[in-house]
């Protein structure tokens, strides 16, 4: 009989624990856990993958505001197949919403990497590529810019400081402070990235780093890394002036020399002919 109270207490505690857990809104617990995890990782970096994604989407919308999309299904599929083949072998094979490749309907050769993974290549640049390996070299270089977060890094330091200050305010914590200072900072950030990737181009060091990554990626994917050397040599010979890709990705002698040292032109592998054949079947 003396054990009866102990048993009853145990029973009550056990039932209370079970019912207590069952009655908790686990969605709330989940949200708290997600928030905690986010805060822990956010402290170690200036921007989250989701923020990078939303900036990239807006930059892409700005690019598509002034350029027509080339919607040929065969070319779109092909560019995405080549792009995905190299992206999965890059130093950043995955982003918040993945890589997406699209063709812009202009004969001016150029390529743009929006933060987060949307990559544009113009019809003119695809035409300039003589084969699939050279197209892979272009896309691997652009994936390198995404992997290195070169677009995001072009957002001015002053603007980041403003973002950090704004996020500290109570207003911003209420659904991101829409319509307020945060929206202005978002717009400013998009302008910074757009100017860099479309108008001014990346720094020389960013270009060389993306080249080095492209060579590694091409090797890992099974493409000829010498294709990047071949394409840059072709671009330099064309002397395209100071617009388009010659402005955004200038094929300087230094750059070419560094790529040559990393990826000397070699004999094409047996399957290169198969890849070239499918490239030549494209309607450009």
């Amino acid at each position: 009989m003396r054990r009866q109270p102990v048993f009853c207490a145990f029973l009550a505690a056990a039932l209370a624990l079970v019912w207590g857990c069952a009655s908790l809104d686990y969605a709330s617990i989940a949200t708290i856990a997600v928030k905690t995890g986010v805060k822990a990782t956010e402290a170690a970096r200036p921007i989250s993958d989701s923020e990078e994604y939303y900036i990239g989407r807006a930059v892409a919308a700005r690019v598509l505001g002034g350029n027509r999309l080339y919607t040929d299904p065969q070319l779109t599929l092909y560019v995405n197949e080549v792009g995905q083949t190299v992206a999965r072998k890059s130093t950043r094979p995955n982003t918040y919403r993945g890589y997406h490749f699209a063709v812009l309907d202009t004969t001016e050769p150029n390529a743009f990497a929006c933060p987060g993974g949307i990559i544009f290549v113009t019809r003119g640049l695809v035409q300039m590529c003589g084969n699939e390996d050279e197209l892979a070299a272009v896309l691997a270089h652009e994936v390198g810019h995404v992997a290195n977060k070169d677009g995001i890094n072009s957002i001015s330091q002053a603007r980041w400081s403003q973002v950090a200050t704004t996020l500290g305010t109570e207003t911003a914590k209420q659904y991101g402070g829409v319509g307020g200072q945060l929206a202005t900072l978002f717009e400013g950030s998009i302008e910074d990235v757009f100017k860099t990737i479309v108008v001014n181009g990346y720094s020389r060091s960013a270009e060389e780093a993306a080249d080095a990554q492209a060579v590694t990626t091409l090797k890992a994917a099974g493409y000829d890394p010498g294709a990047l050397t071949a394409l840059l040599t072709k671009m330099q010979a064309k002397q395209g002036g100071a617009t388009g890709i010659y402005k955004t990705h200038p094929p300087t002698s230094d750059r070419l020399a560094k790529v040559k040292s990393l990826a000397p032109a070699g004999a094409p592998d047996q399957m290169e002919a198969v890849r070239s054949k499918r490239f030549q079947s494209l309607k450009l």
Binding site: A27, S50, R57, E81, P93, G176, G179, E187, Y223, R275
Partner: protein, 168 residues
């Protein structure tokens, strides 16, 4: 009477044992399963994108979540164990499993209103984008959606890689 009392005590302890088991067993089996919502995903050896991919995980696959570290989930899939980024599960439904899903690892990543609440204060969110779109109707977000909506079928990509003598 004494015999009867002796019989009741072990019975109570059996009930207590059963209750203890009720509390402990679900804890052991509360491994969340999450559905992969994005294409071209892989298991990674370490929780970073620079790590070597171990095995591909197709869109729609259900993986068992073992633990969580920051934005990364340690998961098991078809006998392989590795790490997947939370972005792979974006738009996924809440984890489902026997027990109380989401309690161990915080639930799936959903691009829903509740997720927007979770992201609030992080900075550039879907709502900030919505405000920007209102002010800039000239921006072509419709075509961005079109570009993002284009998916390469995983089987076709493998065939493309194989045909070209490339590395999967």
């Amino acid at each position: 009477m004494k015999v009867s009392a002796r019989c009741k005590i072990p019975h109570k302890w059996l009930v207590m044992l059963a209750l203890t088991a009720l509390l402990c067993v679900p804890a052991l089996s509360w491994a969340d399963t999450m559905k992969v919502a994005q294409g071209n995903q892989s298991l990674y050896g370490d929780p970073n994108f620079s790590a070597t991919p171990i095995a591909p995980v197709p869109q729609g696959a259900e993986v068992t979540v073992v633990s969580k570290s920051g934005d990364w989930y340690k998961v098991e899939y078809k006998g392989n164990s590795g790490w997947m980024h939370r972005g792979a599960f974006a738009q996924a439904q809440a984890p489902k499993a026997g027990g109380l899903p989401g309690m161990l690892f915080g639930g799936g990543v959903k691009e829903t209103k509740s997720d927007e609440v979770a992201l609030a204060g992080k900075g550039f969110t879907p709502e900030v984008e919505a405000g920007y779109r209102q002010q800039h109707p000239e921006m072509n977000f419709a075509q961005v959606d079109q570009v993002e909506g284009f998916q390469v079928d995983a089987a076709k990509l493998q065939a493309f890689i194989k045909e070209g003598g490339l590395r999967p």
